[in-house]
């Protein structure tokens, strides 16, 4: 579908997009009625999609073009395929570009028109905050960083995201989790937790410690950096274990003069000499230091003093450590490594006076008994207002003060505050987001959600947390929807540091960065892979996405942005010269690095679309189709046999492409695989961990293929340029995902008119990220609900 002469440069692509857009509008306005498209459908589509042959269950001869709205779901599927250039299949005749566009636009216009009468506005229902949102809310409420995973079970995902209502059920374990967490967190925040505890931090097994680790002092090598919350003032025991073999041999034990140091907030508290303090051979380590620490979150580091800056050129690069890796080779082993760090304590713990959390909570301190009640009221109502995400009522205050009193009677002022805070954290309006709906709305009627509810939606969308004071204030005054205010708040929120959560959680799930955490490439196939690279991939992808947000770039830059972010480890992997150090910095991708432009060139994407011992062209094809073209390929059939043996032919090993011949040879497979495989093959120069290669199995990589729309490509640059021709469709696909994330529900076919409208408007603004966001925020879907038709159940008796 892409006019081939338009794909030379980025600029030309943009012009092409605008041209097509204008052409589409022109077509629409000349009122080419949909009925006149009948001929096009009959000529190019109905030959397969008719009642006799029933290809893919789609019978276009049967569908009435005058009543597109009645079969919205099917027509949206048609539009989706057309917009991805996937129909008619390659090889079969297609209308020319103008006619293709005319048909698509005519269908879209009809679908949009039909939707206007009855927009899709399902109310989300009671929406529980997920674990991430819970810990963010705690952080902003109490200035306390908690590991929510320690309190709450994991959330299920739905439609690809863990903030979607259908995945967020309740269970006794969860409720118990909230109640326990409320008690524990309130103790921690106030500094009332003085009982000894123990936490162990484990180093990932494939975490290399040959270089400087970001965050630890210069002049050190390897080790572990931890952010640990010390709950009370007191003495703590910090100990660490080095990596040893199963028979107790110390890794790097023959390295002379190695020293390890323990640092708290960057200050050294002890040095351990390897060989003297830490035995070379032992089955039990007792490397401990006891030190008084004041309560609060502190960085804790255990690391080695660098003894050399000579690069490690050992042939035997044991990046993947295994406790069975027993065969230490004299002179060729690597250096000592940290395996785990344990923090125990406090011993003789006492309640701290100043911590950030106490400062945040105790906004007043009573000078005497008579001051206590008003001070408690002030503290608790301030907390509750932010936690419940709305102004406080008298009955809220009454409940809070009742619990304060219970605690006060059993102890002192702060015990009372602790009880009150506990109540706030277990309160259903902290844990659930609800949207009431005005009482005078009839079932089936659409209504605008309240300003406070809108404020919540905004905050959870941008910050994965509750609204801040400014939002609550504006919403409570009913000013949030005033002219210009909503736009101004949207801009403010986008610029705020907290929008990093959007990057982390949205991109983290959409781009499967979280899955990367458990991708484990086979050590024998990828000996150079380590956790440092895994984390670098993740950081790169996050920073890349964040740059789009922060610099308000066009979303199309995700496809072909000419820059990325690397540190030394990643630069070495990508072959970018002269990059030193563990910190990330921006680099330009030009010359031979042109292949790395955009998402397709990101090592992390290559990693999650591979299996442990090889690439997966099929997964890569599926990834591109799903996340760029917006078409999810069908599932494979059962009983797919294993790939041919890699050396089945008598002429030496087969490349992966050769092993996958059956996909093309067998007609049962070819139907779907000719969509996915060419995309994956075009990316075959990136191996299973995203490294560029020119050969595979001894042969030059064959990255040629033909896309579904007939375009011939060879290599990832061709692929990328071909995909750029589908930029509007990419924008729509990203919008669909963003909308799912923003609304907390799956985006259905009925929502597509809104998606199209958002993208059409954003096109005028170069598809900038802020334009997409504003489109979502201003949409009916984000601002309105429709009251359900179902009958009411009886109201509960309030005891």
């Amino acid at each position: 579908m892409t006019p081939k002469d338009f794909v030379d440069t980025n600029e030309d692509v943009r012009r092409a997009v605008i041209f097509l857009f204008a052409a589409a509008m022109a077509h629409g306005q000349t009122a080419t009625s949909l009925l006149s498209q009948r001929a096009v459908l009959d000529q190019y589509c109905v030959t397969c999609h008719n009642q006799k042959v029933k290809t893919a269950g789609l019978m276009l001869d049967k569908l009435d073009l005058a009543q597109v709205g009645e079969h919205g779901e099917q027509w949206e599927k048609v539009v989706r395929k057309l917009r991805a250039g996937m129909m008619p299949p390659a090889g079969l005749p297609r209308p020319n570009a103008a006619a293709y566009e005319a048909l698509t636009v005519a269908l879209e216009n009809e679908l949009d028109r039909a939707a206007q009468a009855n927009p899709h506005l399902p109310a989300p229902g009671v929406h529980r905050v997920n674990r991430t949102e819970y810990s963010n809310a705690i952080r902003s409420l109490l200035a306390l960083d908690i590991d929510a995973a320690a309190f709450l079970p994991a959330d299920d995902s739905s439609y690809g995201f863990d903030n979607v209502v259908s995945g967020l059920g309740v269970s006794p374990a969860l409720v118990e989790g909230y109640v326990e967490a409320a008690a524990k967190i309130s103790r921690l925040a106030l500094g009332h937790e003085t009982a000894p505890a123990r936490k162990i931090y484990h180093v990932r097994e494939d975490y290399s410690q040959e270089e400087h680790i970001e965050g630890l002092p210069f002049g050190t090598r390897g080790g572990l950096l931890i952010h640990h919350y010390f709950p009370a003032d007191g003495e703590y025991a910090i100990s660490w274990d080095p990596v040893r073999t199963t028979v107790g041999g110390l890794y790097g034990g023959d390295s002379e003069d190695e020293q390890a140091e323990v640092l708290i907030d960057g200050a050294r508290v002890k040095v351990f000499r390897i060989g003297k303090d830490v035995p070379i051979s032992s089955l039990r380590d007792k490397n401990e230091v006891r030190v008084p620490v004041k309560a609060g979150e502190r960085t804790l580091g255990v690391t080695f003093l660098a003894t050399t800056y000579v690069p490690n050129v050992d042939l035997n690069r044991h990046y993947h450590r295994s406790i069975l890796d027993d065969n230490l080779i004299d002179g060729f082993t690597f250096t000592p490594q940290v395996s785990s760090v344990t923090v125990s304590g406090p011993y003789d713990g006492t309640r701290p006076q100043d911590t950030p959390s106490r400062e945040k909570i105790l906004i007043c301190k009573p000078s005497g008994r008579s001051d206590e009640l008003p001070c408690a009221r002030k503290i608790l109502t301030t907390l509750a207002r932010q936690a419940y995400r709305r102004p406080i009522t008298d009955s809220d205050t009454e409940s809070l003060m009742n619990l304060y009193q219970v605690g006060r009677n059993a102890g002192d002022f702060e015990d009372g505050i602790e009880r009150g805070l506990e109540f706030v954290l277990a309160h259903p309006e902290f844990v659930f987001r609800t949207e009431d709906g005005p009482t005078n709305v009839k079932p089936g009627e659409a209504y605008r959600i309240s300003d406070l509810e809108l404020a919540s939606r905004l905050a959870f969308f941008f910050w994965s947390s509750g609204p801040d004071d400014e939002l609550i204030r504006l919403a409570a005054q009913g000013k949030l929807r005033d002219s210009g205010v909503l736009e101004q708040q949207t801009r403010r929120m986008l610029a705020d540091q907290r929008t990093h959560e959007l990057v982390k959680n949205f991109a983290g799930q959409w781009l499967q960065l979280r899955v990367m955490q458990s991708s484990t490439p086979e050590g024998t196939d990828y000996p150079d892979f380590d956790d440092n690279l895994r984390q670098a991939f993740r950081t790169e992808a996050e920073m890349f996405f964040e740059s789009i947000v922060r610099e308000d770039r066009s979303i199309i830059d995700l496809l072909n942005g000419d820059y990325t972010f690397v540190n030394e480890r990643l630069a070495a992997h990508y072959g970018i010269p002269n990059i030193y150090g563990s910190q990330f910095r921006r680099v330009k991708l030009d010359g031979p690095l042109d292949v790395r432009r955009g998402l397709l060139g990101k090592g992390g994407i290559e990693l999650v679309t591979s299996v442990s011992d090889r690439t997966s062209p099929v997964q890569r094809g599926k990834w591109v189709m799903t996340n760029i073209l917006g078409v999810v390929p069908p599932d494979p059939p059962p009983n797919v046999p294993a790939l041919k043996e890699a050396s089945a032919g008598g002429n030496g090993p087969l490349t992966l492409r050769q092993q996958m011949e059956t996909h093309r040879a067998n007609p049962a497979c070819a139907g779907c695989h000719k969509m996915m495989d060419p995309i994956g093959f075009a990316m075959e120069n990136f191996d299973g961990i995203g490294k560029w290669r020119t050969k595979e199995a001894g042969q030059i990589v064959n990255a040629s293929g033909q896309l579904t729309d007939g375009t011939k490509i060879s290599g990832v640059v061709d692929l990328r340029n071909a995909l750029l021709g589908y930029s509007p469709q990419f924008a729509r696909t990203v919008t669909e995902k963003l909308l799912t994330y923003a609304l907390g529900r799956g985006v259905e076919y009925q929502d597509m008119p809104v998606v199209r409208a958002i993208v059409r408007n954003a096109a005028r603004n170069d598809y900038r990220f802020s334009a997409l966001i504003e489109g979502i925020v201003k949409s009916d879907q984000f601002q309105m609900n429709r009251k359900k038709e179902a009958p009411l159940t009886a109201a509960r008796e309030v005891k």
Binding site: V126, E176, R198, P428
Partner: protein
């Protein structure tokens, strides 16, 4: 294990032993445990421990040609050979509820929850998930209501790294094999600390725990009021979810009431912290906690997931570095096939710790192993082909005298029949389950 009346306060332990204090929980730290019902001798029904390990076993490394008494166990099961008189190995059953529905394909890793339910899950990614009640919950609902916790669900893997569960099935079916109702998956807890505190409450000592329980009661009262208030403001259709919330609160209150009824069975032991990276360490902790929970009669029903389907976890301690799922697709390449079998064997090796602990724990006139039924189940017979036929299962333990091991049985039909057998032994008479109308006879 010797139970004495003395126990060591936690602080003294920490001070004295420093950081080499590693779990398993020290036996000597557990105060003399009082059973929940003072009159209890042997409880009416045995404890039930369901164990789910996805992807099955490597067929050629565990299949036994003969039936009946087996003196030499095959490669995968070798580590538990010494226990064979307590074990019945059952082969030949088809996990029909894990198979794709008629006319459909795929999703072989997406229906884990079918294993203990005997019925296939409804194919959906949305909130209309539908399965059935799993057998552990049937037992808990009938015989576990007087315990502080009717059942516990344990796991080794935290599932939140998975953002998508493919094939049109909700992640709920992969994340939990214990469902208390057709729409209610119960979360499996992988963090030993959280499990410990759920079993024993949190607090540095028994008095603190008591005080915190009281505080919790008043908190729950207050929260219940708020939920009611909130619920009244909402449209009727939204109330259902808050009603669930209230039911869950009532459940917690009921359990707390039961705990108060018993004399304080809470150990003054040290709370385990952090998530051990070593699988061996982790599962030992879980076995410890399960044993303690049974011993203190905090619960009589437990379910443990060794891993999730499609698990990317590797087990270096098995001698194999390939990850679980990757290893299960060995492609019949001899070295890779053997690697998969080694992982299976390692998992069985980890089980011996549990059997040891149960056997060494006195219970009534015998020991916990005599009075427990362990059901080891999986969802696949040949993981390489995603085949759900001929899945290996095991019954282990005395089940209050109802189960005599020492045999291999080659059966036919659906795994649901085995679930019915387990139900019968645990005091739940059910006529049929899924596609089975008769329990499998083990004699």
């Amino acid at each position: 294990m010797i139970i004495t009346g003395k126990h060591i306060p936690r602080r003294a332990v920490l001070r004295g032993l420093g950081v080499s204090l590693a779990l398993p929980l020290l036996d000597s730290m557990i105060p003399a445990l009082q059973p929940l019902a003072k009159a209890a001798a042997i409880p009416k029904v045995p404890r039930f421990a369901g164990i789910f390990s996805p992807h099955g076993w490597a067929p050629e490394y565990w299949q036994m040609p003969q039936q009946g008494a087996i003196n030499e166990y095959p490669f995968v099961l070798k580590p538990i050979e010494a226990w064979r008189e307590h074990i019945t190995v059952i082969s030949g059953l088809d996990a029909t509820s894990s198979m794709p529905p008629a006319g459909m394909a795929g999703g072989d890793h997406s229906r884990s929850a079918a294993v203990f339910s005997g019925v296939p899950p409804k194919k959906t990614v949305s909130d209309d998930i539908y399965l059935g009640t799993t057998i552990d919950q049937m037992i808990a609902q009938k015989h576990g209501q007087d315990n502080a916790l009717p059942s516990i669900q344990l796991g080794i893997e935290d599932q939140s790294s998975l953002a998508t569960c493919p094939w049109g099935y909700s992640c709920a079916y992969v994340n939990s094999v214990s469902w208390s109702g057709p729409t209610k998956p119960l979360p499996h807890e992988a963090n030993p600390q959280v499990v410990f505190e759920r079993l024993f409450g949190d607090g540095g000592n028994a008095q603190e725990r008591q005080a915190r329980r009281q505080a919790k009661t008043s908190l729950l009262d207050a929260v219940t009021q708020e939920v009611n208030r909130l619920s009244n403001k909402l449209p009727g259709t939204d109330r259902a979810r808050l009603d669930e919330y209230l039911d869950d609160i009532r459940e917690i209150e009921r359990r707390m009431h039961n705990v108060r009824k018993a004399s304080d069975p809470t150990p003054d032991a040290e709370v385990p912290f952090g998530m051990p990276e070593s699988f061996t360490e982790h599962i030992k902790l879980m076995w410890d906690l399960q044993t303690l929970a049974f011993q203190a009669d905090i619960t009589r029903v437990s379910t443990l997931m060794y891993a999730h389907d499609v698990s990317m976890r590797s087990y270096p301690e098995s001698g194999v570095t390939t990850a679980n799922h990757a290893a299960s697709h060995h492609g019949a390449v001899p070295k890779k096939y053997e690697d998969w079998a080694k992982i299976n064997r390692y998992h069985i090796q980890c089980l011996t710790y549990f059997l040891d602990k149960l056997k060494a724990t006195p219970d009534g006139d015998g020991n916990l192993l005599d009075h427990t039924l362990i059901l080891w189940a999986s969802n696949m017979g040949d993981s390489n082909l995603h085949s759900h036929k001929d899945v290996g299962h095991m019954f282990i333990g005395g089940a209050n005298g109802q189960h005599k091991g020492g045999r291999h049985i080659r059966a036919e039909g659906s795994t649901a029949s085995l679930l019915l057998t387990a139900l019968r032994m645990c005091g739940v008479e059910k006529e049929s389950l899924g596609d089975s109308t008769k329990p499998l006879s083990l004699s």
